[in-house]
């Protein structure tokens, strides 16, 4: 059975993560995605390069696509794109601001050749406003949006450290873009109308921390305003990043009791994580740990009162000591038996062979034409009627240029001529 986007043709001019992963998500849903690269290939090919023009990042983020090389700096190259776009449903791009116009691949240019085109543009800071023209990458928007400060990490020399586990703004912008494209395809099916969709790393960053960024004055007066005031004072005094970070971590008293059962603890042979969200979860954990006199879920416990600090600190110490008396496997078994949310801490490099990951078929084996067998994180969702899939690897640079041009009506002579002039094809040497 084909995927839900079977027959949909997507052309992408994308780089690094936010654009390319959107293309891969659409490919997993069954779309035919063609990646258009400049003669030197896109930047992700050279981040952790292990063979010329090939990197693990590129293989992960551009799997499932065919690849072609067209030099958009040349007018002939642009003419090729304008001819191709007539046969495409969707165009996705994530360039620096202003680049699409310069390369004549902006929405107004392309829709002239394909009026019902669905066009997605992803930028760092958005298409309007004082920062629209600024350069942006995931880490820059982590810093700008508050995500980085929200992760409260400080390097050894006191400088801020970013979220290293993932590129959160990039990935969420990729998913937001794919969502917009799918909704727009639905709309086009009903009305015949295409459209321009824009998203930004900044919008993604704000969405990821909507509970902190949003304002609910009645709630904020109690829970957020004191923190905002302290932070503003510290900024005025020129406090260091590490000091502000410490204050932010320490100030919101009401979260501390919650964090007793929503955090990591050391055990005899490593560490475990507790993830209790509800009073019921916390009771399950207390049963597993043999804690009978924790008042923090009682009606008369006031989390905001200063005297709550010592109660929480005493409990924290007790939980810490209790957990240190057993091993990881012992505690996970006891917590599982109570139905409490808990986990050991795995390493990203080790997870590919995990039995649960295996059982869910979350990783897929794919063969790359140049570099051989690979094991990739597969589709995000399973669908019964229109199964998602991940069969194709990332394209070697320039691998499918001729094939795609032929498919879209270019003759062999024409293709040879375009290659001779350097309009298409990888840079030589």
């Amino acid at each position: 059975m084909p995927g839900p986007l079977d027959g949909i043709k997507v052309l992408e001019v994308c780089q690094i993560i936010a654009g390319p992963y959107c293309g891969t998500a659409l490919a997993d849903l069954g779309a035919d995605v063609v990646k258009l690269e400049p003669p030197y290939g896109e930047g992700a090919r050279r981040i952790g390069q292990f063979a010329p023009n090939e990197s693990k990042a590129f293989h992960s983020l551009s799997r499932g696509k065919r690849g072609m090389v067209i030099d958009l700096a040349s007018p002939d190259g642009r003419a090729v794109v304008h001819r191709l776009i007539r046969d495409f449903d969707v165009f996705i791009t994530n360039p620096r601001p202003g680049v699409t116009k310069r390369l004549a691949i902006d929405y107004d240019n392309l829709r002239r050749h394909r009026p019902d085109l669905i066009y997605l543009e992803t930028t760092g800071f958005g298409v309007a406003g004082p920062s629209a023209e600024r350069a942006g990458s995931d880490i820059v928007v982590q810093a700008y949006s508050g995500l980085l400060a929200g992760d409260m990490k400080v390097g050894p020399d006191g400088a801020p450290e970013h979220v290293t586990a993932t590129a959160p703004a990039d990935y969420v912008a990729a998913l937001g873009g794919a969502m917009g494209v799918c909704a727009a395809l639905y709309h086009r099916n009903l009305t015949g109308q295409g459209q321009f969709i824009s998203t930004s790393l900044l919008a993604a960053g704000l969405t990821l921390q909507a509970s902190w960024v949003s304002q609910v004055p009645v709630s904020d007066a109690i829970l957020v305003e004191p923190l905002r005031e302290t932070l503003a004072e510290m900024r005025a005094q020129g406090s260091s990043y590490a000091e502000m970070n410490a204050a932010r971590r320490d100030l919101p008293r009401q979260g501390k009791a919650f964090r007793l059962y929503y955090c990591g603890y050391r055990v005899q042979d490593g560490a475990i994580i507790l993830g209790a969200l509800t009073p019921r979860n916390r009771d399950q954990i207390r049963r597993a740990l043999g804690i009978t006199d924790d008042p923090t879920d009682g009606d008369d416990f006031n989390a905001i009162a200063p005297q709550s600090d010592s109660v929480v600190a005493e409990l924290k110490q007790r939980i810490t000591n209790t957990l240190l008396s057993g091993t990881m496997d012992e505690w996970i078994a006891r917590l599982d038996a109570e139905g409490a949310p808990a986990s050991k801490v795995n390493w990203p490099e080790e997870i590919a062979d995990d039995p649960q990951v295996e059982a869910m078929r979350l990783m897929r084996d794919i063969e790359h034409p140049l570099t051989g067998p690979e094991r990739h994180v597969g589709p995000l969702v399973e669908m019964t009627a229109t199964p998602t899939g991940a069969e194709r690897s990332s394209p070697p640079l320039d691998a499918d240029t001729d094939e795609i041009l032929r498919e879209h009506g270019f003759g062999d002579d024409e293709i040879a001529e375009l290659r001779a002039s350097g309009t298409i094809g990888a840079a030589r040497g």
Binding site: P4, T166, Y186, H187, P348
Partner: protein
């Protein structure tokens, strides 16, 4: 202009973030979303409660919906869902495997009442496998998937610390759910066919780190296997989590140290700055702005080999030069210099400050809403714009039980029926409760 999903009707039995946020995005896209809660309410109502049953988190993750209260433990309550579902397009649920069947809202049951239904189920570990029935939450998926270790953070006790900036697995699951629902609507439009969609926090967490969790033997032999050997050595001597993190970070620094020179944070004379260079062109822009010469930093020269002996020292020397330059000027000064050459850089803002940021204002991403109980609030809106079908907020989150009567009346229940459902507790809050 109507939203892209104008006319689409969504019923959700969801809690906390992953399920509810999917409902918010479908609502922003124009769908009509009805949230079913038990009389106790979604657990999110109690996290950071500021008036009874209302929390900021609940307001954020449930705006744009109408809310009804049904008791799905009762057959009568389930029967209401079965009657409503006939007129719905989409059903969303995030619960432990087995719970939907117990509440009579599993796919097999609901499709009998609506064969073309699009049914989305989100779980922590997925519907099958050895961990399927284990309890989960975002933090659990962070730990299990490797995201948490990947963030390389530990607390004052040396215990692993979670990613606190956001709940990455929850959000990614919410987004991927929404994508799948939209794709399934597109498919149903072309064929008339509905379907079941499954996603999990685990799948989402793996996707977020796909370049780390993938296996690519040709690359791993050079770049990954030495790290795994280092980790194994620490494990074998019973090293602590802190030492394991140190080993992973140390090896990463060797492989990626030069990259991290221009992809990371520095202190300035009055605060801090982040650089976000991903290309040699970006790095040259920063070098130009800072006056860093090829002697100071040879890491982009053709003959620099990050794995060679002495490369650590070269990177450390370059870092010292860059650190010293940044400390000689203010954040504003350096941002202006870096903007002038087009390099990616930003000051480090705090999430609580973003609401007043001029760029955020210009993008009009924040939306002003009025909550029926707690008054005005300003929320983060849809993270994208659409020219033909602009996403638009549909109001604030529902107070518990606020729309039960109105929704039931709309779907054909008369006043007597509603009164008797309320009396039996199948619908609505117990009176006085």
């Amino acid at each position: 202009m109507a939203g892209a999903l104008d006319g689409v009707k969504v019923l959700e039995v969801t809690q906390i973030i992953a399920g509810p946020m999917c409902g918010v995005m479908l609502s922003d896209l124009g769908a009509e979303v009805i949230k079913i809660e038990s009389a106790a309410g979604d657990g999110m109502r109690l996290l950071g409660q500021f008036v009874p049953g209302e929390s900021k988190g609940f307001h954020v993750f449930n705006r744009g919906k109408r809310g009804i209260v049904l008791d799905l433990q009762q057959a009568e309550g389930q029967a209401i869902v079965h009657r409503l579902i006939a007129q719905m397009d989409v059903f969303l649920i995030n619960a432990r495997p087995g719970v939907p069947a117990r509440l009579g809202v599993d796919y097999e049951t609901l499709r009998r009442h609506n064969p073309s239904l699009i049914y989305l189920e989100n779980t922590a570990y997925g519907p099958t496998g050895p961990s399927a029935h284990r309890a989960g939450a975002d933090i659990i998926a962070q730990a299990y998937s490797g995201l948490m270790a990947g963030d390389e953070k530990f607390d004052a006790h040396g215990s692993p610390d979670l990613i606190t900036a956001t709940t990455p697995a929850d959000f990614a699951a919410a987004f991927s759910s929404t994508i799948a629902v939209c794709a399934a609507l597109f498919h149903r439009e072309r064929t008339g066919e509905g379907q079941k969609i499954d996603t999990s926090l685990l799948a989402s967490a793996l996707m977020l780190q796909n370049a780390f969790s993938s296996r690519l033997p040709a690359s791993d032999a050079i770049l990954l296997d030495p790290m795994l050997e280092g980790l194994q050595a620490v494990r074998e001597r019973g090293g602590s989590y802190r030492e394991l993190i140190g080993a992973r970070g140390g090896i990463r620094a060797l492989v990626g140290g030069a990259f991290l020179l221009y992809y990371g944070g520095y202190q300035t004379s009055d605060g801090a700055i982040m650089l976000g260079c991903v290309t040699p062109a970006n790095r040259n822009q920063v070098r130009e702005a800072l006056g860093v010469t090829a002697d100071d930093d040879p890491t982009d020269a053709g003959d620099f080999n990050p794995l060679a002996d002495g490369s650590r020292e070269i990177v450390a020397r370059a870092r010292a030069v860059i650190s010293e330059r940044f400390r000689s000027g203010t954040t504003d000064y350096w941002i202006a210099q870096l903007d002038a050459v087009g390099a990616p850089a930003a000051q480090v803002n705090l999430p609580e400050e973003m609401i007043d940021d001029p760029q955020v204002r210009a993008l009009e991403i924040m939306i002003d809403l009025e909550h029926r109980l707690t008054g005005p609030e300003t929320m983060v809106g849809a993270p994208f714009t659409m020219s033909a079908t602009p996403p638009a907020p549909q109001g604030a989150s529902p107070p518990l039980d606020a729309d039960t009567n109105a929704v039931l009346a709309e779907y054909g229940y008369d006043e007597d029926e509603i009164a008797s459902l309320r009396a039996s507790g199948a619908a609505g809050l117990a009176s006085g409760g």
